[in-house]
Symmetry: none
Subunit: 129 residues, 4 copies
DNA sequence: GTGGTCTAGACCACA
DNA sequence: GTGGTCTAGACCACG
């Protein structure tokens, strides 16, 4: 349960991200029901409103659809969408960061070097956890 | 003047980032005066308080120093500091993005490929402008 | 509540100093919520922006962290940081005062004597309150 | 000519302090004329208004008196007043700093130790200059 | 409810 | 004219 109420990322965002990862990884399969709002809220010790907001976002992304009275279900191509979404988000983030770097007069090579350093740093960080 | 009042990034942050880029790029040189609070506020169609807040942040970063009654000036090693700051920010952004990607089950190779695609895309974008 | 709107020290600075003292003294404990922006603003008869500015400074010092929607909390090592900060500030003030005294041709012994007199005077003042 | 247009102390304050020190040290004697406003302004490369403001403050302190058409003269007991003024300012600064330290739960011994450290530090600083 | 940002406009200190 | 502080009151994001 990687939810951290401290930390800069909003709770609802963390919850949405976490579920999106589970869907992408195939933990929740197509047409399978997700945990109910209240159940998840209790499990995460979080306000139901917050879970609602996370579910809203996932529904807006088309990953998930609601059946009134039954619950939330993973969309047919949910796993695929989730993976695309992650990659798209990554691409956008990289793009913006690179443009900011170029604006600050950093060369493409320099930016690439910083990226490699970060990639190596992330590996170390993951191994230490 | 790349200031977007509707984006998610606070105005004062955008202003600070923009000026930091100008200092890093050597547009404002050491011991040279920056635009006055009010002048920049008028130019950006923004409240003077907002510019002030941006300048405050730059001053805390040591990029710039203010002299009451005189104006704002680029610090001696301002350009150098600005470049370091930019690289550090880039590293942090990359690190977070990479960790998010790993959490979404993307391999290091896959993440690297997305980065290369973004880097190429940024080149194209720059050339078209 | 020792806030003086007419003194030379900015209000936000006074507020930050005061809360830092309370944290240093252990009045607010680690992970405990501080008074909300608006509550403190009302209590001090001050604009919420002013309190916000004080809290900003404390947050930058690492004494305190803010959670949107929840409130402000004392950081884990907040009390320790507050005490260090107080000592550092004291050292800086003494240093400047001593240099000013030396510039005015006062000997080290003379300056020391004045300090001892002030220390005794502070004791008396504290006892009378 | 220890006037530093950068640095946090206002120019007029620096000028007043400097002249007060000269008077305290007996460089300017009783009933002796001080440099004229314009002469000093030129010498310090400073706006005459700024020198005026410094002279105003010294006159308010009673260190100096103006003879219209003749210039500024050191008051009879000027040197004595200057010395007292320095010591009084020092005493007040120490007192305030000590009270702040006590408020932050520092013991008198601890405060004394910090003072001794600052005194030693000031010696080192002076020797290095 | 909480904190975070922003505007409009005021007054002060300094050069 | 410059920067620095403050108020009054608005709107947003979050829980």
């Amino acid at each position: 349960m990687p939810i951290d109420p401290n930390g800069p990322v909003p709770l609802y965002q963390q919850i949405a991200d976490y579920i999106r990862q589970l869907v992408a990884a195939g933990v929740f399969r197509s047409a399978e029901a997700l945990p109910s709002l209240r159940a998840l809220a209790v499990q995460l010790a979080v306000n139901p409103n917050t879970v609602q907001r996370a579910y809203d976002q996932l529904e807006r992304e088309g990953l998930v659809y609601a059946r009134r009275g039954l619950g939330l279900f993973v969309a047919e191509r949910g796993a695929e969408l989730a993976r695309n979404k992650s990659q798209e988000a990554l691409y956008q983030t990289f793009m913006q960061a690179i443009l900011a770097g170029k604006a600050a007069q950093l060369s493409g090579e320099k930016i690439g070097a910083i990226f490699q350093r970060a990639l190596a740093g992330a590996d170390v960080k993951a191994r230490n956890q």
